[in-house]
C-alpha cells in the first residue's frame, strides 16, 4: 500500500516528557490515550465478566443457590451496561486512538486535549455506576435496556447515579466521535484520498457518525427518565397521557445503531487482518465501504424489531421486519468479500488470523439467528428467551470481542516491539473458542424451548443446557487471564518484531519503527494507494 521510509525528523522540539501519574493524567498523546482506553476496557471486561460468572454460577443448577433474585437482577443489569459501555466501546476507541493516526499518516488526533478529556470521563462514569451497587436499595436492577416503568416508577433510589453515569459516558463518546471524524477527514496525509483509506479507518468514520447521531438520543431518554423520577412529569406514564412504549422507541432508536457501533469497527479489523494473512488484496474494497455505509443508514430504520410484542400496528411490524432483513444483504456482502479474499490466498494461521477466522464464522452464526429474530411471528416465540441472549452474545463475544482480541494480537508488535507468544496465543484462542461456544450455543436450545432470560431460577428441563453454559462460561472467563499474561509478557519482552512483523501486512502503520515512538509522522508521509502498488496481486 505504501512505499514510505520512516523519516527521523520527529525528534525536534517536543515538550519534555512528564513522568509518573502526571504523565497519564495530562497526556494528549494518541498512543498513550489509546493505551489508557485499552487498559480501562480490559479492567471493565474483567469486572463485567465477574458479574457474568456470578450469573452463570447461580444458573449452574435449578433453584436459588448463591444469590438473591434482587442481586441477580443487579448482576444482569450491570453486566450488560459494563460490557457495552465500559468494555466493548472503549476497546474500539482505544484501537482507533492508537491506529487511526498511524494508518492515515497523522501526527496525533485532531483535538488532543479533548481526547484526554474524553478518556478521563470514563473512569468517572463507571465509578459512579459501580458505586450505586453499594447504596441503599442497591444498584440498577432493571436490565441494561432500563425499560420504563421498571427504571422509573419501580427503580431503586440510586437510579439517578445510573442516569448521571450514562450522561458522562455519553459525553465521552460524543466528544471522542467528533475527534475521530475530524482526525480522519482533516489529518490524512495529502496523497490518501477517502477511497484509499484502510477499512479500519472507514468503518470508524461511519461508526463515529452513528455515535453522534444516537448518543444524544440516549442522553435525551435518560433525561426524560430523570424528570419522570424526580420532577413529576409523565413521559413514560400513561396515567398522565405519556406512554411506556415511548421509552422503548427512544431507547431502541439509540440501541439498534449502538449494536453497529460495536460491530462496524470489528468489520474493519477483520478487513485488515484477512488480506494480511491471505497475502492477497482485499476482495471488493469499494463494496466493503458501500456495505458499511448501507448498514449504518439502514440501522436507523429497524429499531422496532426489538418491540414486536408490545402491540405495534401490523403495518409497523411488517415495515420493521423487512427493513431488518434487508440488513442481511450488505452484511452478506462483507462475509462474501472476506471469503473471496481467502479464496486462492496463501493463508497462514497466526493468532490474529485464527481469531479473525473464528470471528467471521461465529459472527455469521449470530447474524443468521438475527434474521430468525427479525421474523415477526417467530419472534413472538423467541422474544425475551435465551434465544435472544444467544443471538446477541454471538455477535458481541465471538463477534466483536474476538475481533478486538484479533486486533490486539495483530498490532501488539507495533505497540511493544515484540511478537506476542505464539504458543500461549494459540492456547488462548482454542480455549476461548471452545469456552465461548460451550457457553452460548446451548442457549439457542434452552431459548427455543422457552427458557426466559433474566430469571435466576428455571424449570428442570433446562438443567443440562444451563450446566453446559455455566461450565463454558467459566472456561471462557478464566482463559481470558491468558490474554492478560500474553500481553504482560509481550510488553516485557519476547521475540523482537521488525517494522512490519507480518509478511503480508500493508499500510502506513507498518512503516514506523516497532515499538512505535511516542511521536510519529511529524511531517506527512508519502503514500502510494494500493491500486497503484505493485506489491499485491
Amino acid at each position: 500500500m505504501t512505499s514510505n521510509s520512516y523519516s527521523s525528523a520527529t525528534e525536534h522540539a517536543h515538550e519534555p516528557q512528564l513522568r509518573g501519574l502526571k504523565r497519564w493524567l495530562l497526556t494528549t498523546n494518541h498512543k498513550e490515550i489509546g493505551t489508557l482506553y485499552l487498559i480501562f476496557s480490559l479492567t471493565m471486561f474483567f469486572i463485567g465478566g465477574t458479574m457474568a460468572l456470578v450469573i452463570r454460577a447461580e444458573l449452574f443448577q435449578p433453584g436459588l443457590q448463591l444469590v438473591q433474585p434482587e442481586f441477580f437482577n443487579q448482576m444482569t443489569t450491570m453486566h450488560g451496561l459494563i460490557m457495552v459501555f465500559g468494555a466493548v466501546m472503549p476497546a474500539f476507541v482505544g484501537l482507533a486512538n492508537w491506529m487511526v493516526p498511524l494508518q492515515i499518516g497523522a501526527p496525533d488526533m485532531a483535538l488532543p486535549r479533548l481526547n484526554n478529556f474524553s478518556f478521563w470521563l470514563l473512569p468517572l462514569a463507571f465509578s459512579l455506576l459501580l458505586s450505586s451497587l453499594f447504596m441503599e436499595g442497591g444498584g440498577p436492577n432493571f436490565g441494561w435496556t432500563f425499560y420504563a416503568p421498571l427504571s422509573t416508577t419501580y427503580a431503586p433510589p440510586s437510579t439517578n447515579f445510573f442516569i448521571l453515569s450514562i450522561h458522562l459516558a455519553g459525553i465521552s463518546s460524543i466528544l471522542g466521535a467528533i475527534n475521530i471524524i475530524a482526525t480522519i477527514l482533516n489529518m490524512r496525509t495529502p496523497a490518501m484520498k477517502l477511497m484509499d483509506m484502510p477499512l479500519f479507518v472507514w468503518t470508524w468514520l461511519i461508526t463515529a457518525f452513528l455515535l453522534l447521531a444516537v448518543m444524544p438520543v440516549l442522553a435525551g431518554v435518560v433525561t426524560m427518565m430523570l424528570l419522570d423520577i424526580n420532577f413529576g412529569t409523565s413521559f413514560f406514564n400513561a396515567a398522565g397521557g405519556g406512554d411506556p412504549v415511548l421509552f422503548q422507541h427512544l431507547f431502541w432508536f439509540f440501541g439498534h445503531p449502538e449494536v453497529y457501533i460495536m460491530i462496524l469497527p470489528a468489520f474493519g479489523i477483520a478487513s485488515m487482518i484477512v488480506p494480511a494473512f491471505a497475502r492477497k488484496r482485499l476482495f471488493g474494497y469499494r463494496s466493503m465501504v458501500y456495505a458499511t455505509a448501507s448498514i449504518a443508514i439502514l440501522s436507523f430504520v429497524v429499531w422496532a424489531h426489538h418491540m414486536f410484542t408490545v402491540g405495534l400496528p401490523l403495518a409497523a411490524q411488517l415495515f420493521f421486519m423487512y427493513a431488518t432483513m434487508l440488513i442481511a444483504v450488505p452484511t452478506g456482502v462483507k462475509v462474501f468479500n472476506w471469503v473471496a479474499t481467502l479464496f486462492h490466498g496463501s493463508i497462514s494461521f497466526e493468532v490474529p488470523m485464527l481469531f479473525t477466522l473464528a470471528f467471521i464464522v461465529q459472527f455469521t452464526i449470530g447474524g443468521l439467528s438475527g434474521v430468525m429474530l427479525a421474523i415477526v411471528p417467530a419472534d413472538y416465540q423467541y422474544h425475551d428467551t435465551y434465544f435472544v441472549v444467544a443471538h446477541f452474545h454471538y455477535v458481541l463475544v465471538p463477534g466483536a470481542v474476538f475481533a478486538i482480541i484479533a486486533g490486539v494480537y495483530y498490532w501488539l508488535p507495533k505497540w511493544t516491539g515484540y511478537y506476542p507468544d505464539e504458543t500461549l496465543g494459540r492456547w488462548h484462542f482454542w480455549l476461548s473458542v471452545i469456552g465461548v461456544n460451550l457457553t452460548f450455543f446451548p442457549m439457542h436450545f434452552s431459548g427455543l424451548a422457552g427458557m426466559p432470560r433474566r430469571i435466576p431460577d428455571y424449570a428442570l428441563q433446562f438443567a443440562d443446557f444451563n450446566l453446559l453454559s455455566s461450565l463454558g462460561g467459566f472456561l471462557f472467563g478464566l482463559s481470558q487471564l491468558l490474554l492478560v499474561w500474553v500481553v504482560v509478557r509481550c510488553v516485557r519482552g519476547g521475540k523482537p518484531a521488525p517494522d512490519n512483523p507480518w509478511e503480508g501486512a500493508e499500510g502506513l502503520e507498518w512503516t514506523v519503527p516497532s515499538p512505535a515512538p511516542l511521536h510519529t509522522f511529524s511531517t506527512p508521509p508519502e503514500f502510494i494507494p494500493e491500486r497503484d502498488s505493485p506489491s499485491r496481486a
Binding site: E15, L18, L26, T27, T28, N29, A110, L111, R113, N116, F117, L121, L124, M135, E136, P157, S158, T159, N160, F161, I163, L164, H167, L168, I174, I178, N179, I181, A182, T183, L185, M187, L212, V214, M215, P216, V217, A219, G220, V221, M224, L227, G232, T233, S234, F235, N237, A238, G240, G241, G242, D243, V245, L246, H249, L250, F253, G311, T523, P524
Partner: protein, 285 residues
C-alpha cells in the same frame, strides 16, 4: 509535501474539568436520590464554568499568538459543526417524543386502532391536544395553554431578529468594520437576553395562572422539556456571545481569523432554527 503538523501541548484543564464534573455529577445524583449533596452540585457547576473559562482562555491565547495553522482551524470547524449535529439529534429525540405522543399514544389511549386495549384502562378518556384532561386523576392537566400569538410570537420576532443582527455583525467582522460589528453584536445580545426575560415571564404565567407545570400531564412535560432545554441553550449561546462581545472590545478577531465568533454564531443560528420548530409544533399547531 506541506510543512510539519502542529500538535498542541498537554494541558491540565481537561483532567480538572473531569474533577469538577465529578463534583457536579455526584452532587446532583446524591441530592436527587438521597436529599443531600446540593452544595457539591453547585460547586461543581461553578467549577465547570471556571474550567471552560480557563481552557478557552488558553486556546484563545494560543490562537492569537499565531500557533495554529490552517489545519488546526479546519479541525476546530469540523469539531463545532459535528457538535451542533449532535445537538440537533438531542432535540430530535424530544420532537420525536412529542410527535409520538400526539400522533400515536394519545389516540390509542382513546381506543383508536386495532389494538386499542390500552383504552380499557381509562374508558372515559378522550384524546385531545393540548391535553387538558389527563387519563387518570393522579395527574391534573393545565387549565389553559400559552397563547402563541402573544409572548411566543414576540419571542419569535426577538430571536429571528437576533439572528439577522448577528449576521450583520459577522459581516462587520469580515470587512474589518469593528464599530459596526460591536454595535450589531450588542443589539444581538439585547435581543437574546430579552428573549430569556420574556420566556421567564411566560413560565411564571404558566405556573401561576395557567396551571401549566411540569406535573401537568404529558402536555406540561413536553412543553417544559422542549422550551426548557431550548431556553438553556439560548442562555449558553447568549453567554458565549457576551464573551465574543468582550473579545471584540478587546481588539480580538481579524477579517481572516475569527473562528470563535463564527462558531458562536453557528450555535446561535442553530438555537434560532430550533425555536422556529418549537413555535410551530409546541405553541401553534
Amino acid at each position: 509535501m506541506s510543512g510539519s503538523y502542529y500538535v498542541p501541548a498537554s494541558s491540565k484543564w481537561p483532567i480538572l474539568m473531569v474533577v469538577v464534573l465529578a463534583f457536579l455529577a455526584i452532587g446532583a445524583a446524591s441530592s436527587l436520590s438521597f436529599g443531600h449533596g446540593f452544595g457539591l452540585f453547585i460547586a461543581g457547576l461553578v467549577g465547570v464554568f471556571v474550567m471552560m473559562f480557563v481552557w478557552f482562555r488558553d486556546v484563545i491565547h494560543e490562537s492569537r499568538s499565531g500557533l495554529y495553522d490552517a489545519q488546526m482551524d479546519r479541525s476546530f470547524r469540523m469539531g463545532m459543526a459535528w457538535f451542533i449535529f449532535s445537538e440537533i439529534m438531542f432535540f430530535a429525540a424530544f420532537f420525536g417524543a412529542l410527535f409520538y405522543i400526539r400522533v400515536f399514544a394519545l389516540p390509542w389511549l382513546d381506543g383508536e386502532g386495532a389494538k386499542g386495549i390500552s383504552a380499557l384502562l381509562w374508558p372515559d378518556f378522550s384524546a385531545s391536544w393540548p391535553l387538558l384532561k389527563t387519563p387518570s386523576d393522579a395527574f391534573s392537566g393545565p387549565v389553559d395553554v400559552v397563547d402563541p400569538w402573544h409572548l411566543p410570537l414576540l419571542n419569535t420576532l426577538l430571536l429571528v431578529g437576533s439572528s439577522i443582527t448577528l449576521t450583520i455583525a459577522h459581516h462587520g467582522v469580515k470587512k474589518d468594520q469593528r464599530n459596526k460589528a460591536k454595535l450589531w453584536l450588542f443589539l444581538t445580545l439585547i435581543l437574546g437576553f430579552s428573549f430569556l426575560i420574556v420566556q421567564g415571564i411566560e413560565y411564571v404565567e404558566a405556573y401561576t395562572r395557567l396551571g401549566l407545570t411540569l406535573q401537568a400531564g404529558v402536555y406540561g412535560g413536553t412543553f417544559f422539556l422542549l422550551t426548557g432545554f431550548h431556553g438553556a441553550h439560548v442562555t449558553l449561546g447568549a453567554c458565549v456571545l457576551t464573551v465574543m462581545f468582550v473579545r471584540l472590545l478587546r481588539g480580538h478577531f481579524s477579517p481572516r481569523s475569527h473562528f470563535g465568533f463564527e462558531a458562536a454564531s453557528w450555535y446561535w443560528h442553530f438555537v434560532d432554527v430550533v425555536w422556529l420548530g418549537l413555535f410551530i409544533f409546541v405553541y401553534v399547531v
